[in-house]
Symmetry: D3
Subunit: 285 residues, 6 copies
């Protein structure tokens, strides 16, 4: 169960409202790298957690924190939009191209749909989708999904930081960047607890490796028409999980050309596709 | 540039066609954990690659291999559907509820839209979306996105393996599971080359940590109403990147309640929302 | 800012796990009528609230409560899925059509993607979308959006109640149905505070009605080829806002046929579409 | 069955074409608050109507009228785009930033995909989705969905009205705003016929209230960590449906912490998640 | 402007309601091959039509007819669902696996969201999307889009026809199949008026072919690693537009390996990706 | 199986980077008319091909070529974005509205999500969707889908050609336009092999026309309230397939008004919708 206090986790101050920056911030709310995604991802992982209770507990903690981050960013959007409407009005009146520049850079739905408020969408107005949320039932897979989310999330936040000169916004982003630093650490620390590379890999570690194809499970296959061209840690030496030796070879077809049966009548392919069709020979002549 | 030879990377054999399994396989084609996603993800990462050429080259290799995996799975779907149409016909004729059971389990669009062929969609017929593809411009973030994709992908493949008793399908999946093992290794090997935890973290490692909020970048914040309840690797000791010490504390609001300006007239809020509106006092009485 | 305690708002008990019902419950999690939608809708309305603070405060309260409802339903899904895996295994082994019936009725992604856990998606596995969330900046419009959400939400919950005989599930749903009753009341109570029909309508009430077309703002227009066929409260008497008289009339075109300019060259229409094209006359001959 | 006459319901005149306004108008065509949504919503409600025939008839009338509104707005988009292409050409030639301003504000797909014509998408080019359409089978729920659609629709139209100074566009919007006024009235008039608050609530009114949880169906629950902070019409007095008394109380967990079973083997969680796993104790140490 | 008469274009009779067939019919309503798509496609093409008025007029005619087809199919869905609820009830009571079979085959949202009515979605419950609608501004391109829609639409209708034994449904589908026959003809007849292959191709025919690359505009390029393997009408002889000669050759790279600049600092790539980064050499060693 | 060589099919040169043009190019990558769509469409058609092997082979060839086109365009996007970041920086520093104009025209996610790289999305940042891909199992329907894709694709490419003055970009587009010319030819050549209009129509040609409604399969039906207004090739003369005579007539309802049964109790409609409800008469008074 959840509670609130109506206050912000960290202060959100906008010195110079900027509708273009409001649009950019939407990526951190409703984009793939955004806070709705991580909040829902950590909470669903918690609610679905089977196994050691401590991980369920921790996921609830951080999922709940992310709700506060959505709140901070939505507030930042609303504050950045407070400078927008006069521009809108002036543009309508004078068709001033400089004002149009702001219009081009802002999300029109911030005005039209949101009445100068935030939306659960990305920087292009594409709505948040639950399709991004990963809750796989495998704890290690989930942890890597979380590291990825915090890595792309921190990259996004640093880009937003570069984009603005507003001191209030920079201060808020410095807080969010720091939290992303910690969250990257946190999920990797779970992976360390789960045994690190040698213990957790390959994920899932509960599938007997004897059942996977032992010819290709530690081989880098090159599809280059001239065969292998590069070398790296992944082409030689012991594998990271300590369970194999890396090798490298040319990818080659081990299967022939597929043969599908002719279409059955109920599918209503063209007559020429049928096995025993009188028109068929004619066509292939 | 790309080439083909019309053969399969590994043999695809279906001993007993099963339209329900055809539907399950769709998750591995067009689902979030599927092969279209990784093919596009690795190829876009290659095409957008800035920095050491060897990583671009490697991404092209594996992205191209994944195209062959889509091909294998699409072939497997088509072969598993070859048993479907007689059932369809019989059902239409007799309204046999046992046959309806198969219908319930199969994807109706396999027949209606695909003419008994594969679709670029998941096990529920939800179309593949480019929104899943991660190509962030940051090599380490991309590598974690790739590990996640291969971890959830291998989990999916092992579940499909459990679900079928068809020897041909088990053999094909054993091959794909093995490739996922290697691909997990491969992306983690790049991370090792990039310096491992101490070198690559926090991602991006090019943002000066002096600019992030130093109070909270290695602190686990607890939102539990009774404060911290759990301990783990992430609450104590040196951080994994060697750049801080983990700590744990109660999350507390550092910002007050947000104050948004009243709506501007052009937004056409209700009168009662306006700062100087005659109806306002009345309402709040 | 948000807090949690790890407990459920109301007890969630499943006496007989039913994977088919788990799928049905997804509609109440990630469907248009579901709890993610209302949680996000009320929270975004709160965060974007301009005007009387009391409404922001109330929206935060109920938005936070809805998070606990998602949690209850996700738990219910996970518990209902606990009976699923043996069935899966048996099916793979024996291709028993009765077991296939369960498979047909369950969401395959509950097993394949979720590892027998809940997903942020609807009963067909279609992901939750932020496109449903309404936060318009107009308080009265938002309240009607909320009433609608709770009306369709309560209808959904009563249908789920009819669908199950599990006492635990019926008890949980009786709780959720009751909360929907209150929430319908709550948003309508705000509308009453905002002046009810005569005060709040038309929405937005801040647009001067003198600027709207006075000929048709209280007229029911009939598009039936034989003209008006029906009568109702909306065809006669004073309008509900007390600002007009209902009337009824045949809809008739007040505009002529539209005339668009011929395509400009840069658009590369077909030559025959061009105003001065030599081929044009030929074609229309 | 449907008919047409090729004329517009109301005249559509554009004095000064404005590609930026063309983009804004798209929100009223293919956005959540737009005309495709209401046309489809009213028509599906009519086609699915069970119960008194008069409501089916009325829904068909207004659904058909909305088709004419899509037509008007699509025409308005096409006319506003007639000024676009020379600008496009000039920009390509000179990279004039003022022209780029127009480009930034216009939807590039108006030129690239539509050849300077309207699209079934919103102001950000996000395609119309059938996911918005509500046809619940419950007449009262549908009516509130319709009121909401017309309330947000009229808010949108007034914002478009403020945005433009084009007399033709203002005249067209004054017509559409007036129709939204009537349509809000119309759906509320049905609710009045259905008994108003005391007759129609709670929706659905066919579910016996004795079966809902009688403890919480008229109680405002506060999730604020300091308990109830606000008062309103919804915290005291008789409920609007006359079937209860409003009260207010602190939200408290009535359920304990959820306990999910450990994962079954077929799901292939990590070994550490298993109930009887040798590695488990080690991890939790 | 549009009108209606409340009657069906053709009679819709369901002798034996079948909820599974109701789901199948959804593909013809809200699927890619369905009637909402063609209705919107033809109407948007009409509204955006620039050039000869006769084509705009014809598109309006057929777009309006398609609205009546959606109406027929929505009615067919509602009638097929009339047998569903007793089954639902019985299942809840007895957990009868035969009844579950029907449940597996039906769309749960038909009951949960639609109250046993049609939805604007496909056979898997995936909502209709405006992304399918083609209105390109080029008349010939639009006509091919229309032929494609009617070809896949008729294939779908024949598959539905095979699937059902209900005489009423077969009769309705025989009508719709016939209309698709005519509509295929109709759009191809426009292409004939536009000059057929020699006049209309390549589309757009208004782009001067002298500006396209003359080396490859009539050459079949083979990407097979062993070079061209097949022959057909497209590898030899005069091209269909009479403007070239078909040839066949091996596809070969005419461009080298792409070279992208190193990342700029603001993007915050990893340090190792930077041109002048001290860590770079180390990594590539 | 697939191979690569890391080189581009044709040279991609950008003389003057233009972030606005980078956004435009996205339509040709991830838009409905774009290269991901055709690559996936041709490959899925190949993988699902039943019938003459030569068509499977050819589809593989051209599907593989399209992969190289995605690669070319992604490279072009990355090169066009190389001019972007200084502008971003300058804007942040000076809030220069001219620079904002560029920002308005560029896709913010090119910077925020892609780190100045291409995305699998369209010119508005809407992600690529597998819902566009047509692989129907009917060869002729597929060929028309392919012609349509190449017709709208070539229209898009010519519009991009008009939009840019960059010699490198014009050269690349001239290549792609030429390939679209060939591909239009290619699919039409298959249709010629399949018998052209008289042999392939109506599609599917395997459904016995005796089973379709013979009254309306060659009749143009006019929904204009004043009856037929236009004439064309489609209203008179022999049909294109030689199997009928075109005619024209007024569309008239052949079905009556639909009658749906009252709602069953489990659906929980409003009481007033019920057949035997005591409140019903009251309402309809």
């Amino acid at each position: 169960m959840f509670y609130h206090d109506g206050k912000l986790q960290y202060s959100v101050r906008v010195d110079t409202p900027n509708p273009v920056f409001a649009r950019m911030l939407q990526q951190a709310i409703g984009g793939q790298e955004g806070e709705i995604r991580v909040a829902m991802q950590y909470l669903f992982q918690a609610w679905n957690a089977r196994g050691p209770k401590k991980y369920r507990d921790m996921l609830l903690e951080t999922g709940t924190e992310e709700l506060a981050h959505i709140e901070m960013l939505a507030t930042a959007v609303a504050l950045n939009l407070e400078g927008a409407p006069p521009a809108l009005q002036e543009q309508a009146a004078k068709e001033n191209p400089l004002v149009a520049a702001v219009l081009g850079g802002m999300d029109p739905r911030h005005y039209l749909s949101g009445g100068l408020g935030a939306l659960p969408a990305d920087a292009n107005g594409v709505p948040f989708t639950g399709a991004w949320v990963v809750s796989s039932g495998n704890l290690a897979a989930d942890m890597y999904a979380n590291v990825m989310a915090e890595a792309t999330g921190r990259a996004l936040a640093t880009r937003l930081y570069e984009f603005t000169d507003d001191p209030g916004m920079k201060d808020m982003l410095a807080f969010l960047i720091a939290r992303d630093t910690m969250h990257q650490q946190q999920w990797l620390a779970v992976l360390e607890e789960l045994g690190g590379h040698t213990g957790a890999l390959p994920i899932p570690n509960s599938f007997p490796q004897a059942q996977e194809n032992g010819e290709v499970n530690y081989a880098f296959l090159s599809t280059h028409i001239d065969g292998p061209q590069t070398e790296g840690r992944w082409t030689q030496g012991a594998s990271l999980d300590g369970k194999g030796q890396f090798s490298q070879r040319r990818a080659e077809p081990q299967g022939g050309e597929p043969q599908l049966a002719p279409p059955v009548p109920q599918v209503h392919a063209q007559l020429e596709q049928g096995a025993d069709n009188p028109k068929k020979g004619e066509v292939l002549r």
